[in-house]
């Protein structure tokens, strides 16, 4: 495009965008600001826009008086396991779909595409019954297993593997490598970028998952952060600093993952939507 000239209209547009972005973030700021106020300061009129010095009583209270730490641990274990298992299994499956001939290959791919369209929530009832029979209710197995069985990563990885020249595998086979080796020594490094991107997307999705943990856990020590925080909130009543403190604690991992790996998250989102 031709070089941008300075224009009043452009400046107004930019200023508008900046104001809109600040307004967009305001609810997040307001949650964080409320969490470092004393309870009395949260309900004064006019509201205190910049709480200074910050008061961390609400955080101390939440951590000491609820199993928040335990829920954090549950959520870390769950979302890390889901990410590792889902990525690893998806890589293997995608490699086979892309490069190997086996009976039922076409059927499997169609089943994955159908499963991708199927709303997870509509399977919640039979899945819950199945979990009851396996004794997986209120367990990590129950939290993790259905989240591993999501076809998104397989579909994305297959598309990327399809673009790797077939000669690479043929040459490696002649050198005596097996398919495991070819996958992890050739295909994995070549597609490192998208694997990393999908890992972050799956981690964020698993950390934030609300619906499935709500269904499969009901004992307080097995809850995850997104479900558990709503329980303590209803117990707190009008205690906005504590309520917001739970929100801040719950957001740290995914917000940090996004801020540190912005480009990867963008790439993962594109791939998830079918745009490379």
């Amino acid at each position: 495009m031709k070089t941008e000239k300075f224009s009043i209209l452009g400046l107004i547009c930019t200023v508008f965008t900046v104001i809109l972005a600040i307004a967009w973030l305001f609810p997040v700021y307001w949650m964080a600001a409320t969490s470092v106020k004393s309870e009395t300061d949260t309900i004064v009129n006019p509201p205190i826009l910049f709480p200074w010095p910050p008061n961390f009583d609400a955080f101390v209270y939440v951590i000491q008086n609820s199993p928040f730490f335990r829920w954090y641990l549950n959520t870390v274990i769950t979302s890390v396991s889901v990410t590792v298992l889902c990525i690893l299994f998806s890589l293997m499956c995608a490699y086979a779909l892309s490069r190997l001939e086996f009976r039922g290959r076409q059927l499997l791919y169609v089943a994955l595409l159908v499963g991708f369209m199927l709303p997870f929530a509509t399977m919640a009832v039979p899945l819950f019954m199945f979990m009851t029979r396996l004794n997986f209710v209120n367990s990590f197995q129950g939290l993790i297993a259905p989240q591993v069985a999501t076809p998104l990563a397989v579909i994305v990885f297959k598309q990327f593997f399809d673009e790797v020249p077939r000669d690479f595998r043929d040459a490696a086979l002649i050198d005596g490598a097996n398919d495991f080796k070819i996958l992890f020594k050739i295909y994995l490094p070549l597609n490192w970028s998208i694997i990393w991107a999908m890992s972050i997307i799956i981690f964020i999705g698993a950390w934030n998952n609300f619906f499935w943990p709500l269904i499969v856990t009901n004992s307080t020590p097995m809850l995850t952060v997104p479900v558990g925080m709503t329980q303590v909130q209803s117990a707190y009543g009008v205690a906005f600093a504590k309520i917001c403190a739970t929100g801040v604690l719950a957001s740290i991992p995914t917000a940090a993952a996004y801020l540190f790996f912005q480009k990867k998250v963008t790439q993962g989102v594109m791939a998830a939507a079918g745009l490379k």
Binding site: M1, K2, T14, T17, L20, A21, I22, W24, L25, P27, V28, M31, T42, I43, P47, F89, S90, M92, C93, Y95, L97, L100, L108, A111, L112, M117, L118, P119, A121, T122, M123, A124, V125, P126, M129, F130, A145, P146, V148, A149, P151, D179, I204, F210, P226, V227, T230, V238, F240, I243, C244, G247, A250, T254, Y258, Q262, V265, T266, V269, L275
Partner: protein, 274 residues
């Protein structure tokens, strides 16, 4: 060998429940799975169940309030962001950040800033409205919170689409004397249409699955005005202990989604040709 681990998980935890839901919808099972076949009785009950149809209507209302607005806002934000240079990344992050927050954080924040007595919105407006406690405001506010939370995703897709519009097209249009608005209307809009239709399709399927936000913001209230299909299914299954009937509700939702997305993709294709 390579496919075994994934396929085992997939068959056990996705294919099996997907088939099971069809079977269960033909039984009078409780939530433990105890029951017997009753034929199409659940579906007959469903057709005359006014609460179910009310839930369908609320879901459609939510879809209307979100699909096109969320797409339009995403496009608008993408237009604002793509023309920036140095400010681009921080502004983009500001609009996208809510998307990575857990839904319960999003609803906690919404309930706090919209609180009837101490929320900052009512404070600024000088009112005392319980937005989520008012039958006519509740659903529009659930929709607004949803858009605030998820529009960043649509924005990213539109930004990618806008970047793919070749600069020469704009130059050619400018040489032909098209002004900025005309270039937008006759170059940007048609070339971005594939992305727009993709976003519309993704949105339509996504918004029919509305559950988390209403569960957390209103739990279907006030007076059931925000009870959507999946919330109705959840209550039938886990509060009324009717696994069979809840499965029929789930089947109905799948059928609705399939019909609507087929109709929509037909409509969008026709539009693309003309």
């Amino acid at each position: 060998m390579l496919i075994a681990p994934f396929v085992i998980f997939y068959v056990l935890f996705l294919v099996y429940p997907a088939l099971q839901v069809v079977y269960l919808s033909l039984t009078n099972s409780d939530i433990a799975g105890q029951g017997r076949l009753v034929g199409l009785a659940n579906y007959q009950e469903l057709i005359s169940d006014q609460d179910f149809w009310a839930a369908v209507a609320h879901t459609v209302y939510f879809v209307v309030l979100t699909v096109v607005p969320n797409t339009a806002v995403g496009f608008f934000l993408a237009l604002l962001v793509t023309r920036l240079k140095r400010l681009r990344l921080p502004i983009l992050s500001a609009f996208f950040l809510p998307y990575v927050l857990p839904v319960s954080v999003v609803t906690t924040t919404a309930l706090w800033i919209l609180d009837a007595n101490f929320g900052i919105v009512n404070n600024l407006l000088g009112t005392n409205t319980a937005w989520f406690g008012d039958a006519s405001w509740a659903m529009p506010f659930v929709a607004m919170v949803t858009i605030w939370w998820t529009v960043g995703f649509n924005m990213l897709l539109f930004i990618a689409g806008l970047q793919n519009v070749p600069a020469e097209y704009y130059e050619a249009a400018a040489l032909d004397g098209a002004n900025g608005f005309q270039r937008f209307l006759f170059v940007t809009c048609p070339l971005i249409w594939p992305v727009t239709s993709l976003v519309l399709i993704l949105q339509l399927i996504l918004q029919f699955k509305i559950f988390d936000q209403v569960y957390l913001l209103t739990f279907g209230g006030p007076s059931n005005s925000t009870t959507v299909v999946l919330l109705y299914m959840y209550r039938e299954a886990f509060q009324q202990n009717r696994g069979g009937y809840a499965s029929a509700v789930a089947m109905a939702l799948v059928i609705i989604i399939v019909i609507v997305s087929v109709v929509q993709s037909r409509l969008l294709r026709i539009k693309r040709v003309t």
